[in-house]
């Protein structure tokens, strides 16, 4: 049982481990100049020197911005996506706005947000919100639109109000789709939060990466990137575990899972 759970995890570690070994070897053998690309060993050393005292507060700042932006996007995205799915008028109004922002990199909004909110907390939360809201809206829209009509009819024959129908049938039925949207949003949240911090922030992992990069302290810069990688990966794993628990009722057919 335990081995069964650990084994796929170990398999996932195989390719990164090989990559790190090749990387370490090519720096040591002199194929790559460690001035430009520090070896994994040097990066680990830099990480140790920085320690929790330097990294944790920055990590906390970044995670806090991500959490706030993601949470607001989840709530607004679900409500807006549902509204668009239920009302064709709302869909007609909001669809062009959403479709036109779809292809734009969300970090390009940052200068505008700096103009509005100054440096610091809010421009980053806002750009995280914008980046996260879009996938949540799109997936919620599809989830709600595709609720089987017999389920809706059953509920109507039990005398539910429109409000009751939404909370007790439409939303739970759409949850598998909504959670896929949220998982995608979580990935976007990390991307834009770091990009944002590199531009405007005085705290956060993005800021650290930027200042170490500018100062040419590449082992430390890579150390921060590694921390970021690990944290983003763990966040995704935790979110997946939450999805698996939350959707334990879902009949995933005969597919043996794997992936979203």
């Amino acid at each position: 049982m335990l081995l069964g759970r650990v084994q796929p995890f170990l398999k996932q570690l195989l390719s990164p481990v090989i990559l790190v070994l090749i990387w370490e070897a090519s720096v040591r053998l002199g194929f790559v100049d460690s001035e430009f690309l520090p070896s994994p060993g040097q990066i680990l050393q830099a990480m140790r020197e920085m320690g929790a005292a330097e990294l944790l507060p920055e990590l906390a700042a970044t995670l806090f911005r991500i959490a706030i932006g993601f949470f607001i996007a989840a709530v607004v995205g679900v409500l807006l996506g549902s509204w668009m799915a239920i009302s064709s008028r709302a869909n007609g109004f909001f669809y062009p706005i959403l479709a036109s922002t779809y292809a734009i990199p969300k970090s390009s909004f940052i200068p505008l947000f700096i103009l509005w909110f100054g440096l610091g907390f809010w421009p980053i939360v806002l750009v995280v919100f914008i980046a996260c809201a879009l996938p949540v809206v799109v997936y919620t829209f599809h989830g709600i639109s595709e609720v089987p009509k017999l389920r809706v009819w059953s509920a109507l024959s039990f005398g539910v109000s429109r409000r009751d129908l939404f909370w007790s049938v439409l939303l739970p039925a759409a949850m598998p789709e909504i959670l896929v949207g949220m998982r995608i949003a979580l990935g976007f949240a990390f991307t834009v939060a770091i990009a944002g911090e590199m531009i405007v922030s005085t705290t956060g992992l993005g800021k650290l990466i930027f200042s170490y990069g500018e100062g040419g302290v590449y082992p430390s810069m890579f150390a921060v990137i590694c921390v970021l990688l690990i944290v983003a990966y763990v966040a995704d794993l935790l979110f997946m575990a939450f999805i698996d628990y939350y959707l334990r009722w879902l009949d995933r057919g005969h597919s043996s899972g794997g992936g979203a």
């Binding site: 009819w153 059953s154 509920a155 109507l156 024959s157 039925a173």
Partner: protein, 263 residues
């Protein structure tokens, strides 16, 4: 008919827009009266519009022409007086067996303990004791259909609309559920309208069998069922009267099925 009309269909028609741009006339000029407290079955060839007709009585699908009234008032949408069991299970997969059955109970004016008692009783009736906390995906098709039936009964509707509710069940479970339906019908003043492919089931259960034509569906004929309802099931089903009435219905249905096959 001895009783007052509960549901009246007058010249009901339904035309669907087909995907290619054409039209599908599913039902054309269907008329029928279903008495208060009556048990009626509808039989007819596959695709003749039985489900569509039932959805219109349920108020889920708009009719294209004609009128449908219940207690002399036109049906304009779904209502708690009309409960429905669909051909395919329409359970809420995110709720357990017990939660599914509690769903309509919670929306009635019942106390918490009455809700729990009624849910327990219904779970007992459908023979799913021990499965209360399972999700639908953990049940067989027949078990899910039993939960769907119990959930509809939990709403305690005046009129029961049943769309081939026993099709997925094995012979034994089907008999148990049929007798349970008869028991509920006799114990209450509910009006029942049941669709089936199974002529034996139609004769055993109902007072009157309505026969639909091949598409476009119409009610073309009906057979009044006269059986000694006091007899135990085996005797009833093996009686000469049963065989005779079943054959009468069977011949009419077969005629329509052949007509449908020739299209």
């Amino acid at each position: 008919m001895t009783s007052d009309a509960k549901i009246v269909l007058a010249n009901v028609g339904k035309t669907f827009k087909a995907a290619g741009g054409g039209e599908v006339v599913a039902i054309s000029d269907a008329s029928a009266r279903i008495g208060q407290g009556e048990f009626v079955t509808i039989v007819g060839p596959s695709g003749c519009g039985k489900s569509t007709l039932l959805y219109m009585i349920g108020g889920f699908v708009d009719r294209t022409s004609g009128t449908i009234t219940m207690d002399a008032r036109p049906i304009e949408g779904p209502g708690v007086e009309r409960g429905i069991v669909f051909q395919e299970y329409a359970l809420f997969p995110w709720l357990t067996v017990q939660q599914n059955i509690l769903y309509p109970l919670k929306r009635r004016k019942l106390s918490k303990s009455q809700q729990m008692d009624e849910a327990a009783r219904l779970i007992d009736v459908i023979g799913l004791g021990g499965f209360e906390h399972r999700f639908p995906r953990e049940l067989s098709g027949g078990m899910r259909q039993r939960v769907a039936i119990a959930r509809t009964l939990a709403a305690d509707p005046d009129v029961l609309l049943l769309d081939e509710p026993f099709g997925a069940l094995d012979a034994q479970t089907r008999e148990i559920m049929q007798d349970e339906l008869l028991r509920v019908w006799r114990a209450t003043s509910k009006t029942v309208c049941l669709i089936t492919h199974d002529v034996t089931e139609a004769i055993y259960l109902s007072q009157r069998v309505l026969i639909m034509s091949a598409r476009p569906g119409r009610i073309i004929d009906e057979v009044q069922v006269n059986l000694d309802r006091e007899l135990p099931r085996e005797e009833c089903e093996t009686s000469a009267a049963f065989a005779e009435q079943r054959n009468a219905v069977w011949l009419k249905v077969r005629h329509e099925a052949l007509a449908a096959g020739m299209r």
